[in-house]
């Protein structure tokens, strides 16, 4: 391994070849968002549009799903729980995939913004997963005849919920936030193993939970009169999820700025006293 400070003939040659590059190269588009200032400026204009679109789509989806969609031939009106349960389940898994991407960015590129976003994402992901479990339980009682069973699907989603909670707790457990972020990122990446288990549990093992209905797009096992409102609800919940995560991350960036400014002000206020105390 080359020591960065050692002036070997090799490093000298490299330095002379690139005389005007004092900063590391930040060419990729990913790094353009690493600047918290630019992130705040960009998201300030996005956020109202995202929130408006989420409310609009969610309103239309809720009306479609709760009033206009037909009941199921054997579940009756209970089928409407599905319009919340399924989007929550997809968001719990999609959100966790997002957390994994943020964790990779945090571990490899040491993005402070990825750390902040991951920290704000995990409580929201935990809430979404909890909603998935609760709505599933409310559906299971009248349909299956039980609130809960320990089959592979339900258990693996419960593990996903604990992973979200564990990440939220771990990143807040250290005095040094950077250390907490690194530990959280490692936990999040270990937990990625659970995602294929959740997805394929219903195919690999026999479970009480039914297999996926929407596997082939040309002939899904769900009638189109129920499928379209479900897709609209999913889009609405996804937009709302993104808006909430974005708003929380913005708040965290601004909070950190305020704290940095307060620290600087406190140092300035302390400085003259320390000089006068010294003589």
């Amino acid at each position: 391994m080359l020591q960065s400070g050692a002036a070997t003939p090799y490093t000298k040659a490299v330095e002379s070849a690139h005389p005007s590059s004092p900063l590391p190269r930040t060419g990729s588009t990913l790094h353009r968002f690493a600047n918290p200032g630019r992130f705040l400026r960009l998201t300030e204009s996005w956020l109202p549009w995202l929130t408006g679109a989420a409310l609009l789509v969610l309103g239309a989806g809720a009306a479609w799903a709760l009033w206009f969609a037909p009941p199921d031939w054997q579940q009756g009106e209970t089928v409407r729980i599905m319009y919340v349960h399924v989007p929550m389940a997809w968001l719990a898994m999609g959100g966790y995939a997002g957390l994994a991407v943020l964790s990779v960015m945090s571990l490899i590129w040491r993005h402070p913004l990825a750390d902040l976003a991951a920290r704000e994402l995990s409580p929201i992901g935990a809430a979404v997963t909890a909603l998935c479990l609760v709505t599933g339980s409310l559906w299971g009682r009248p349909m299956w005849g039980t609130w809960w069973v320990w089959d592979a699907r339900l258990t693996s989603v419960l593990v996903l919920f604990f992973l979200w909670l564990g990440h939220a707790a771990l990143v807040r457990a250290f005095d040094d936030p950077e250390r907490g972020a690194r530990m959280g990122a490692i936990l999040a990446l270990i937990g990625v193993i659970n995602l294929p288990i959740v997805k394929f549990s219903v195919d690999w093992w026999n479970t009480l939970h039914q297999p996926a209905s929407i596997t082939r797009l040309n002939s899904p096992g769900m009638h189109v009169d129920m499928l379209y409102p479900l897709l609209v609800c999913t889009l609405g919940f996804t937009l709302a999820f993104m808006a909430v995560v974005l708003a929380a991350t913005r708040a965290a960036v601004m909070e950190r700025r305020v704290r940095a400014l307060q620290m600087a002000a406190a140092r300035r206020a302390d400085a003259p006293q320390m000089q006068s105390a010294e003589p």
């Binding site: 579940q75 349909m143 026999n206 009480l208 039914q210 096992g221």
Partner: protein
């Protein structure tokens, strides 16, 4: 090799290690992670007497008999659980879930008695992945494409389509 690249390789190496460890563990668990056993499994290998296990399959058409109530006033029901190859008789005292009917998937928990009847202390209905409005189900039943007491609905391509121009191929 920059520090960033080294971290990337370490991460990839960990991912490969963890992934293969999990894959091996799950393969080893393959047979133990079943939630229920089918009547064919029971026919092949009878579980030890007195040991509780879960039996799952479809409620056989024409096998449901309601047999009055027990001394405590709980309704007693007798039916057969089948997987198309073998079938097992089940006796249960209690209230069955709303979805319970002939042709429905069920998962029952109980013990096998010496006379070959499964004494269930819990009956759960299993919902399959089919979601359809009552009118579609009625049309399928009327046209003779589907008898719900015989099992699952016909393939989705026969009653569902995402192209509004083309009607689904059900015989309505």
């Amino acid at each position: 090799m920059t520090r960033r690249r080294r971290r990337l390789y370490i991460l990839l190496l960990c991912a490969i290690g963890l992934g293969s460890a999990t894959a091996l563990t799950l393969t080893a668990f393959q047979d133990n992670l079943v939630f229920f056993r089918s009547p064919s499994d029971i026919a092949r290998e009878m579980p030890p007497p007195g040991r509780a296990f879960r039996l799952g399959g479809l409620v056989e058409a024409g096998s449901v008999e309601r047999q009055g109530t027990t001394a405590e006033g709980r309704p007693t029901i007798r039916f057969r659980v089948t997987d198309g190859v073998s079938a097992v008789s089940v006796v249960f005292a209690g209230v069955v879930p709303d979805l319970f009917r002939e042709g429905q998937g069920v998962v029952t928990l109980g013990v096998m008695s010496p006379d070959g009847v499964f004494r269930a202390r819990e009956v759960l209905a299993r919902h399959d992945e089919t979601y359809m409005p009552p009118e579609v189900a009625d049309a399928l039943k009327r046209s003779g494409h589907w008898n719900p007491s015989q099992g699952a609905a016909p393939p989705a391509a026969t009653w569902n389509t995402l192209e509004p121009g083309r009607p689904a191929r059900s015989g309505t």
